[in-house]
C-alpha cells in the first residue's frame, strides 16, 4: 500500500488531485452512515473507477470495553463482553470464561463443555446467516436478504429454548453453563438442522450458483495465501485463502476434540472462496450440533467457581465466527481484573481491507469488502 490518503472532511465527494504521474484521482468517503460500509468509513481514492488507495477509518462505535471490564467484577463483565458482536455472543463469552478458568484453575464438567460447544456452533450459524443476508442486500439480491434472516429464526428459537434469551445469552459462566438442556431439545435440534441443510441447497441454487453472483465474485478481491498470513488474517478470511488454520482443530478446546468435523478451506482467495467457506462452515456446524445432542454425557453442568480472580496471567482464545477471539487477562487477587486485553477476529482482519480492494473497480467494492465479514462494532470494541 502507498502512503495513506490525506484526511478529508466528512462529506461525500472530495478534492480531485493530480498525482505525480499526471493522472487525476478522486477521493471518496464511503460511510460512516452505513451506506454499504458498516459503522465505519473507508476513504477510497479512485482513478477513473479503479481503486488506487484505501484507508479504513474505524472507531465510530468504540465503547472502551477493555476499560469497563477493569471496573467490574468478572460476572458483571459478561453482558458487556457480548455486546461488541451480539450476533456471535457466546463465542466471545467463551474466550472470556476460558481465560478466567485458566487463572482460577477450575475444570469444567464434560456436560458443561458439550453445552458450551452446542451454543457456540448455533451462534456460528446465526452469525454466518446474518453476514449472508447483508451480503445479499449489498449485491442487490433482496431474496438473499430475506431468507437467511428468516432461517436464522430457527436457531434463535432453539437458543431461546436452551438459554432463555434470544440473542445475548450470558449463558457461559466461569465453571460451566447456567442451564441444562430442556426436555425435547435433541429431537427439535435434529429436525431443524436437517431442514436447514435442505435450505442451504436452495441458497446454492438461488445465489451461489447464480451467474448474477458468481460473475461478480469470482476473481474479485483476491487475497493470496502469503499475503493473508503476512497480514495476520484469521477465520474464514484466512481459510478462504487456502490456509488450513482453525483453533477448533489446532488447539482443541471444550468438546471439540471428541467431535468429528472438517475444516473447510478454499484455495483461490477471492470473494467467492470466502463466501463458500462460510457456507461450508454452516454445514459442518449442523453436523456438529447433531453429534452433540446424540453423544452428550450426563453429569453436572457447572462446577463451583469463586467470584475472585487470583493473582496470575492467562491467555484464553477460541475460534469465533469471524476468526480468533482472545483475552489476555491479568488478575491481582480482587474480583476485578487488573487488565484485560480483548482482541477479536474483525480487528485482525481489518488489515486485509486495503489488500482486497486495491486494483478493483469501485462497483466491485461491496463484493470484495463484505466477503471479509468485517463487523465494525466487534473491531472497535
Amino acid at each position: 500500500m502507498s502512503a495513506p490518503p490525506k484526511p478529508v472532511p466528512l462529506t461525500t465527494v472530495e478534492s480531485t488531485e493530480t498525482s505525480e504521474s499526471g493522472a487525476q484521482t478522486l477521493t471518496l468517503s464511503v460511510g460512516p452512515q452505513h451506506s454499504g460500509s458498516g459503522h465505519m468509513r473507508l476513504i477510497v481514492e479512485v482513478d477513473g473507477d479503479i481503486i488506487v488507495n484505501v484507508a479504513p477509518d474505524p472507531g465510530y462505535v468504540h465503547r472502551g470495553i477493555e476499560k469497563i471490564i477493569e471496573l467490574r467484577n468478572i460476572i458483571k463483565s459478561i453482558p458487556v463482553i457480548e455486546r461488541p458482536s451480539i450476533i456471535d455472543a457466546s463465542n466471545l463469552n467463551h474466550a472470556w470464561v476460558r481465560s478466567i478458568e485458566e487463572i482460577q484453575g477450575v475444570e469444567v464438567p464434560r456436560r458443561g463443555q458439550y453445552l458450551r460447544t452446542l451454543l457456540n456452533e448455533m451462534n456460528r450459524i446465526m452469525s454466518h446467516l446474518y453476514w449472508l443476508s447483508i451480503y445479499g442486500v449489498f449485491l442487490g439480491h433482496t431474496t438473499m436478504f430475506m431468507w437467511p434472516l428468516g432461517d436464522r429464526e430457527l436457531f434463535i428459537d432453539l437458543a431461546e429454548k436452551l438459554t432463555g434469551a434470544r440473542i445475548t445469552y450470558s449463558y457461559l459462566v466461569p465453571g460451566g453453563v447456567r442451564r441444562d438442556l430442556p426436555p425435547g431439545f435433541a429431537e427439535e435440534a435434529v429436525k431443524r438442522t436437517e431442514y436447514f441443510e435442505k435450505r442451504l441447497k436452495e441458497y446454492d441454487r438461488i445465489f451461489f450458483n447464480n451467474p448474477l453472483f458468481t460473475s461478480r465474485a469470482k476473481g474479485i478481491g483476491v487475497l493470496s495465501k502469503e499475503k493473508a498470513i503476512e497480514l495476520g488474517c484469521t477465520g474464514p478470511t484466512l481459510r478462504g485463502s487456502g490456509v488450513d488454520a482453525d483453533l477448533r482443530k489446532d488447539e482443541p478446546y471444550a468438546a471439540y476434540p471428541e467431535l468429528d468435523f472438517e475444516v473447510s478451506t478454499r484455495p483461490d482467495g477471492d470473494s467467492f472462496s470466502r463466501a463458500m467457506v462460510h457456507m461450508d462452515e454452516m454445514r459442518e456446524s449442523c453436523k456438529i450440533i447433531r453429534q452433540i445432542v446424540k453423544k452428550i454425557p450426563s453429569g453436572p453442568i457447572r462446577r463451583k467457581a469463586p467470584i475472585v480472580l487470583p493473582r496470575g496471567v492467562a491467555y484464553g482464545r477460541v475460534e469465533s465466527a469471524r476468526g480468533e477471539c482472545s483475552f489476555y487477562l491479568i488478575g491481582e487477587g480482587g474480583d476485578k481484573p487488573y487488565r484485560a486485553r480483548y482482541i477479536t477476529g474483525s480487528y485482525r482482519n481489518m488489515a486485509a481491507i486495503p489488500a482486497v480492494l486495491l486494483g478493483n473497480r469501485l462497483a466491485d467494492m461491496p463484493t470484495a469488502w463484505w466477503s471479509i465479514d468485517y463487523w465494525p462494532v466487534e473491531a472497535d470494541r
Partner: protein, 156 residues
Amino acid sequence: MAPIIGKAKAAVDISIAYLTGIRHLFHRPYTLRFPQQRYAVEKGYRGRHLLHLDRCTGCGICAWICPEKCITIVPRGQRWYPQYFYGRCCFCHFCTDYCPEFALEETVEYDIAEYTRDRLVWSPERLSKPPVKKDDKYVFSVDTIGGASQVPQKEE
C-alpha cells in the same frame, strides 16, 4: 464453442434460481403482525421478573450483582424490597440466579414497553403481580415446514 456452453449454463442456472424463488411464493412467512399475533415463548424465557414478597429479605444481593445498576432497594414499612428500572435492564437474569432466597423468578412477559420513562420503574408491588394472561388465540411458533405456524389451542 466454450462461450456458447458457458452462456447456456448461465441461462440454466438463472432459470433454476428464479424457479427456486417462485416456489417460495406459496410458503408461509416468518413475519408476524405483532400485537395481534405473537410468538409462543415457553417457561424459562427470560422476560420480566416476578418478585415473591414473602420470600424476599431485602438483602440487596440482586442489586449488587446487577451489571446495569438498575435495581434500587426501597423501604416498605419495616422491610426492604428491590425496585427495578426496566429502561436499563438487559435481562441477563443474574439477579434471579444470585438471589439466595429464590424470591425472584423469570416470567414469559416480554412486551413491557411504555410511553413514558417513569412507567418503566417497577415498584415491588408491581413486580409481585404475576403476568396477565394474554389472549392466546393467535400464538405462533417457528416451524420447519417453512415459516411460522399457529399453535393449536388447548381445550379448556
